[in-house]
Symmetry: C2
Subunit: 459 residues, 2 copies
Amino acid sequence: MAAWNSYLDAHKAPFLDDLKALLRIPSISAIPEHAEDVAAAAEFTAARARAAGLENVVIMPTGGHPVVYADWLHAPGKPTVLIYGHFDVQPVDPLALWETPPFEPTIRDGRMYARGVSDMKAGVLTGIAAVEAMLKTSGALPLNVKYFLEGQEEIGSPQIPAFLAANKARFACDLVISADSGQFDETTPALLLGARGSCGFQIDVVGANSDLHSGLYGGAVTNPLHALVQALASCRGADGRVLVPGFYDEVLPLSAEDRAMIAHVPFDEAEYRAELGVDALWGEVGYTPIERAWARPTLEINGMWGGFQGAGGKTVLPNEAHAKITCRLVPDQDPTVIVDRVIAHIGRNLPPGVRATFDRRGGGAFPYLIPADHPANQVAAEILREIYGKEPVHVRTGGTVPVMTMFKTILGADTLSFAFGLNDERYHAPNEFMRMANIERGPAAYCMLIERLAAKGVR
Amino acid sequence: MAAWNSYLDAHKAPFLDDLKALLRIPSISAIPEHAEDVAAAAEFTAARARAAGLENVVIMPTGGHPVVYADWLHAPGKPTVLIYGHFDVQPVDPLALWETPPFEPTIRDGRMYARGVSDMKAGVLTGIAAVEAMLKTSGALPLNVKYFLEGQEEIGSPQIPAFLAANKARFACDLVISADSGQFDETTPALLLGARGSCGFQIDVVGANSDLHSGLYGGAVTNPLHALVQALASCRGADGRVLVPGFYDEVLPLSAEDRAMIAHVPFDEAEYRAELGVDALWGEVGYTPIERAWARPTLEINGMWGGFQGAGGKTVLPNEAHAKITCRLVPDQDPTVIVDRVIAHIGRNLPPGVRATFDRRGGGAFPYLIPADHPANQVAAEILREIYGKEPVHVRTGGTVPVMTMFKTILGADTLSFAFGLNDERYHAPNEFMRMANIERGPAAYCMLIERLAAKGVR
């Protein structure tokens, strides 16, 4: 048994106390009144990193909630890994639904209950505890480590891209390890390979200078709602494919291996349908539901409105119509390019007699994909196999994980997702919890990861 | 000069006093607090009819605002005309925009200002004054006359169809004469030939049992907004034609004569566009804007909504989408048949994974059309030609005039529209007025009409 392993065994209690202390800080990034709590969580995390033997620990201002940096860089010639996490948490409303107070960590039935335990304060401390165990027992690490611990993930990390770009040299690394992920189910480990990107805009269609009587004018002038319906319908075919010219031009086709990996993921379509309450799933022809959600791009109307929405009828020909659209993107689609193509297509498909304006919100996010056979994934898979006695499933998310793209774009580094939470642990909901077994398996797994990445390489 | 003409000349002042007295009654049918005022207007009108020499004057309950009936039926073997009008008025909000109080009739610059003067208390008294002049001077009328004066036109006459059906024999007639119409412009008379019918419904589309994250589910499940967009887009082609199978099956095509009459109507497209603030008019290919608005059916989205409508973005895949639709109909379309066809078509064009329900509001209204060469129109045209020194233009309205259809359906009688108001006289808006010249020309014109209809026939 490795020396770090004995150290971790001997320090279970103080490590759990550290976690409880961090969980008691209500570091809700979305609520301005909690800004000092987010700062306190940064202070606690920084102090914890210093106690672990990490160096150059600093709380860096971002213009918003701060970032904690720490490092240990005494393994010349060895790779550098950047451990990513966040110490901010979601709001707790509705408070009445919590069985025990959200910021009073409580252990019952083999689970710790507290806001932020699974998402992801246990993960933040896991990476620090692992390094402490190695430094305290051998005085050194087999590779170089840096930390990027932020306090604004739950509000979309608004200041982080600019902050990272401005501090590129400091965070330079060969691989990012993110603990902001999880396992597949109670007995199955997972490796997250990809996330979709996104881009979006609002379209506002205006016709006449006021609402018109649909009897007097209907048929003679363009109805902005019809114009918008026609233009939006032209974006997707009856076979679920997006009809915007060029939309799929840069899409990397799913390989036979990709499809086999996705098919390997346990998925019960009947159960999925029953959970959603729908009698059929539907989407792009030729792909399974998971392929469509994880690995194929889509164009979705998030909201649409215009004209009379009250009770009963009103014979109005409205003079405005509006819609909010987002596209989910897969490699190698570029959010700016795609939003341009969609907007151009909609513009070409509006009938005469209306004007459209487009509001592009933000710049969008690039999709992310790390190969399943990336050296870091191979190392992680080997460790997970040993811990769980089971092959990890290779998953993607249909959502967007901007940090993975950001690290790739700004630092040129891939992200290995390595974590032990579960989707059912109610992060973002009342009674968030994490299984004690998963809290406890983290630090040892991280020690194994550091050792083997040092031995086998990170890229 | 006819005896009635001298009588009208001699009684200008008292007739104007009568009109002012009726205008002082705030008979707003839409506001429950004014129900007694509507009743007072009925009393005034009934008393005025009695004073004119009309018989069997009675205020008839309808379940809502009352109807005033009166008759003179001493011309055996001669046709019977039913004179239609309404003594209720629109609300006056916003009151602050009125230059003089809405229920204090004021004459300035050759116009009388008051709520309801043009729409249509002057018209109500015109038909009574004309008959009074003839009865007081010759003791008889050349045909039989009945009156149907109602108090709920401005709220859509909810009790009137059932009331008329229940009193069919009393109101039996050969022709209806409606004063609820007007001339084309200050110097041009008009004859109203037709009105479009209507039918409508609300569609509610439901997908999953709650809103979903558009990243996690987008592409895998049906988006109800997309489903609705696709189904509604399938209802109208890029050429503006309605694509619902059978939609045009019963439509009477526009004859060359119809089109020539419409083309004869003074219409400045550039001015129309400028007024609406649109750079182009658009609609069913092959028809002019007026043809489309007056004489072709249409399908319009009156309102549509679903998903996120706030500021910024929200990556939601909504679980509901809604729209309100109305169709405007032309002869010989049947509102029930058309709404059935549209709903069936939409049902066939929804993708899998959503459920739709349809709420049919009311039964709809049939379209109406009276031939331009109907004997009554020929008589009216001759009179208008004499009064204005100009041919009347034959117009239709794209809106719905349910009473014309109702009289046709229940009484089997066509409606001649014969009136002198103008569209610019701000009915339904602050500072409603009517030109004194038009108020004064009404009674004599009605006397001419009664004489010539008696001589030349009404059907």
